[in-house]
């Protein structure tokens, strides 16, 4: 949003809203990074920190909603301003969900840390890195209004979905091999599922950025928002 409004305080309020979203985004990004570390390094202390920090993200979401309401009521925004504000509502709710998933990963990691280590925890490391990169890039795209980067994220989500599918298969085999692994592997499965959902929300954000800048959603083949039905046992 390059040019300034004739009414300067309008710019002030819009900038404030965008700052809150960016603050929320960087906090969420750290949470996801730390959640993956917790699983890989079996770091229960860090897990506790993640769980403690989650409410801060929720509070930022509420703050962004208040700013949004105020802008809509007092400024009657249109065109780029309207799209920016509407997209802020959507992005803040995606970030809030991502924060929840990160906290959920931390909670499951705490349980895992009580169990003997399983080698599959390492496969989470890869998926965690790819998911984190996706999130980091989409947040960069938002900060710099970079449609190209947003589109790139939009296309890359499939990678996370594929990883999830293969981890699912791998864990399943492992559980069948030795029933002692079932508890740990179930938690790992849920963790992988959480990461996969984080990827989906990052993809939503990528779509929103495209809409904000271009005024329409991205075209072309829509990446699958969800993994195959056969693996959808965790929904509802």
């Amino acid at each position: 949003m390059s040019d300034e409004h004739t009414v300067k305080s309008f710019d002030g309020e819009i900038n404030r809203l965008n700052d809150v979203i960016i603050e929320m985004a960087s906090l969420t990004k750290e949470q996801v990074r730390d959640a993956v570390t917790v699983v890989v390094k079996r770091d229960s202390e860090l897990a506790g920190e993640i769980i403690e920090k989650d409410p801060a993200i929720n509070n930022l979401e509420l703050e962004s909603h208040e700013l949004t309401m105020r802008l809509l009521a007092l400024r009657q925004p249109v065109a780029i301003d309207l799209r920016n504000i509407v997209v802020s509502i959507k992005i803040s709710s995606d970030l809030e969900r991502i924060g929840d998933y990160a906290a959920n990963v931390a909670k499951r990691a705490l349980v895992l840390n009580q169990l003997p280590p399983v080698k599959q925890a390492r496969t989470i490391k890869n998926m965690g890195r790819v998911t984190y990169d996706l999130l980091k890039d989409v947040i960069d795209a938002y900060e710099h209004q970079d449609v190209k980067k947003a589109l790139d994220v939009w296309h890359r989500d499939e990678e996370v979905d594929d990883m999830y599918t293969s981890i699912f298969r791998e864990l399943l085999t492992y559980m069948m091999e030795d029933t002692h692994n079932i508890t740990a592997c179930t938690h790992l499965l849920f963790i992988a599922r959480n990461l996969e959902r984080i990827g989906d929300h990052a993809t939503n954000i990528a779509e929103d950025i495209h809409f904000m800048i271009k005024g329409k959603p991205p075209t072309g083949r829509r990446p699958m928002g969800d993994v195959d039905g056969e693996f959808d046992i965790f929904d509802h």
């Binding site: 040019d3 300034e4 409004h5 004739t6 009414v7 309008f10 009657q76 925004p77 249109v78 065109a79 780029i80 301003d81 309207l82 799209r83 005024g215 329409k216």
Partner: protein, 269 residues
């Protein structure tokens, strides 16, 4: 966002032939040496509300006045190009301007009732155009027009009182009733609410919504919100150029032109 019935191409609405009420072709307007409207091509849809927006002095009123040849009354004003209403060029020499003005009514920024009774204000037009042949018929037209203008309930017990004694909003609805009384096809409105309070404005906007069932309406407004609320199509003018014309929804969510965007979002100089 795009309505398949209104297949806009490149931001410009494309009407099927039978939906076009007014077709403006290469319209140029000059006041002496001043080039006030530059080569404007624009089609206006039947039974729709079309809004003209743009900064002061960009030519909205000038262009609006071309549609009923009101500019003819300004000596130094020269209009070039063609404006067709129902495929008939209104600048054709054989056209009767008095009849044209009956087909194309106009409502102005400042309510301007005649210094006569409420009844006479509305009855005047039908009388001079010979629309009513009996007193009873005339009374019928006055009543229907006042009803269509949403004023009947408020004035039916004092039709003999002067129109100038009404409130601003009532006067403006009286002017709309006066315009309707001659059974026009098109109603031009030049900032009809700029002298009215929010309640009176809301009543006029509600009226516009109802009137579009039977009339084609073109409204000049400097309230962006009003254009967004009442119109189906919006045309944005700047320094005499038609910069952008399209579905109102598209103009206010995703305008194509940067000038339009700057103007409607309040980034204009």
């Amino acid at each position: 966002m795009t309505n398949p019935d209104n297949n806009s191409s490149n931001g410009k609405p494309v009407f099927p032939q039978e939906k076009i009420k007014i077709a403006c072709k290469r319209v140029n307007v000059y006041y002496g040496d001043k080039h006030a409207i530059r080569d404007v091509n624009l089609e206006i849809g039947k039974n729709e509300v079309t809004a003209f927006i743009g900064p002061s002095g960009c030519g909205k009123s000038t262009f609006l006045r071309c549609i009923n040849r009101m500019n003819d009354t300004i000596d130094i004003c020269r209009v070039e190009g063609e404006i067709e209403i129902d495929n008939e060029n209104i600048y054709d020499k054989s056209l009767d301007v008095v009849l044209l003005r009956a087909r194309v009514g106009m409502v102005f920024q400042k309510p301007n009732p005649f210094p006569k009774s409420i009844y006479d204000n509305v009855a005047y037009g039908p009388k001079i155009h010979g629309i009513a042949s009996t007193k009873g018929e005339l009374e019928g037209i006055v009543e229907t027009s006042l009803k269509k203008a949403g004023l009947w309930e408020e004035v039916n017990d004092r039709l003999d009182q002067p129109g100038t004694g009404l409130s601003g909003g009532q006067q403006q609805r009286l002017c709309i009733a006066r315009a309707i009384a001659v059974q026009p096809e098109i109603i031009l409105m030049d900032e009809p609410c700029s002298a009215l309070d929010p309640i009176a404005t809301a009543k006029i906007e509600e009226l516009i919504e109802e009137l579009k069932e039977n009339y084609t309406i073109v409204i000049v407004t400097h309230s962006m919100q009003q254009a967004a609320r009442v119109s189906q199509k919006t045309a944005f003018f700047h320094l005499g150029d038609l910069v952008e014309y399209g579905e109102t929804e598209d103009i206010f969510t995703n305008p194509v032109n940067k000038l339009t965007q700057d103007y409607i979002t309040g980034r204009y100089g």
